[in-house]
């Protein structure tokens, strides 16, 4: 069972309280972008065995979207953080680097 702490209401929410929102930190490419950029934005997703960054919504609770970093292999949760950011916070990345030396995710290493 996956438990994520919502950074907005502080509840350790169980998976059924939440709704998954897919991969985190996507950069949107819309009208007038190149076909390659648009294809990448629309279809290409990370599917790692290991460290992953995702969006989740506390749908049955406070209703807020937030980000979570977790390991898809062990279900270990490294941390959750605000939705109002375009990249994971540095202290969280340091924690992950210490626990999973050498991990890479898109252009994060």
């Amino acid at each position: 069972m996956l438990c994520l702490e919502c950074p907005y209401c502080g509840v350790a929410a169980e998976e059924t309280d939440l709704h998954p929102g897919g991969e985190a930190h996507l950069k949107r490419f819309g009208p007038e972008s190149s076909d390659d950029d648009f294809t990448g934005y629309l279809f290409h997703r990370e599917n790692p065995k290991g460290v992953h960054f995702e969006r989740w919504r506390h749908v049955n609770g406070c209703g807020k979207w937030f980000h979570a970093a977790r390991c898809t292999n062990t279900l270990e949760v490294f941390g959750t953080y605000s939705a109002q950011t375009t990249e994971p916070p540095k202290d969280l990345l340091d924690t992950i680097r210490a626990k999973r030396p050498g991990f890479t995710w898109r252009d994060i290493a």
């Binding site: 907005y8 209401c9 509840v11 929410a13 309280d17 049955n60 609770g61 209703g63 807020k64």
Partner: protein, 190 residues
């Protein structure tokens, strides 16, 4: 104003706990920055309560405030005065970025009375209801089986559950089943 039309006509159930649909609870949703001075002062002036902290509840006589999210609060007041209170609050916060709506008839409130209420709720919600973890003064928004709900404890033997009016029958059925006399687990009293 017309009479209160309850969703379940004041349904009641007696089992591990007593369950009762409360008649006419005034409820006003306030959305806006809860740290905003105008909003804080307006709520305090009109309802006589300080804005509760994260997941907190605050009560003063027949009014109350429930922390729903960082930018949402559910204000409680007598049913008859809810519309006037909402209008007055909207007027007071009109210069702040805020939204005020009277939702009294969009929600249903149940009261659970009895020492087994922790267990009755714990059977339905993915929330830790252990004494010391969930205590009076805290509000929890979560789900009851398949629908969203919020609940808080007034004291060790009294809790209130708020859900959408459209699922009132479902929630009453859930609570009644969970409070069936033959279904005691005695998890929290063992």
């Amino acid at each position: 104003m017309s009479d209160v039309q309850l969703a379940l006509d004041g349904a009641a159930f007696d089992g591990l706990v007593q369950i009762e649909e409360l008649a006419g609870q005034g409820m006003i949703t306030l959305r806006g920055d809860l740290a905003d001075d105008t909003i804080r002062a307006s709520v305090n002036g009109l309802f006589g309560i300080d804005i509760p902290a994260q997941r907190g509840t605050a009560f003063a006589g027949d009014t109350g405030a429930l922390w729903m999210s960082p930018d949402e609060m559910l204000l409680l007041c007598p049913y008859e005065g809810a519309r006037a209170m909402a209008d007055e609050l909207a007027e007071k916060v009109k210069d702040a970025h805020a939204l005020v709506v009277n939702v009294s008839d969009a929600r249903t409130v149940f009261r659970l009375k009895g020492s087994m209420l922790r267990e009755v709720i714990a059977k339905l919600a993915p929330a830790d209801m252990s004494p010391g973890v969930f205590e009076p003064g805290e509000l929890r928004r979560t789900r009851l089986a398949q629908v969203a709900a919020a609940f808080w404890m007034d004291d060790a033997r009294n809790a209130r559950v708020v859900c959408f009016r459209s699922v009132a029958g479902y929630v009453f059925g859930l609570l009644s089943t969970s409070a069936d006399d033959a279904s005691a687990v005695n998890h929290f009293t063992r």
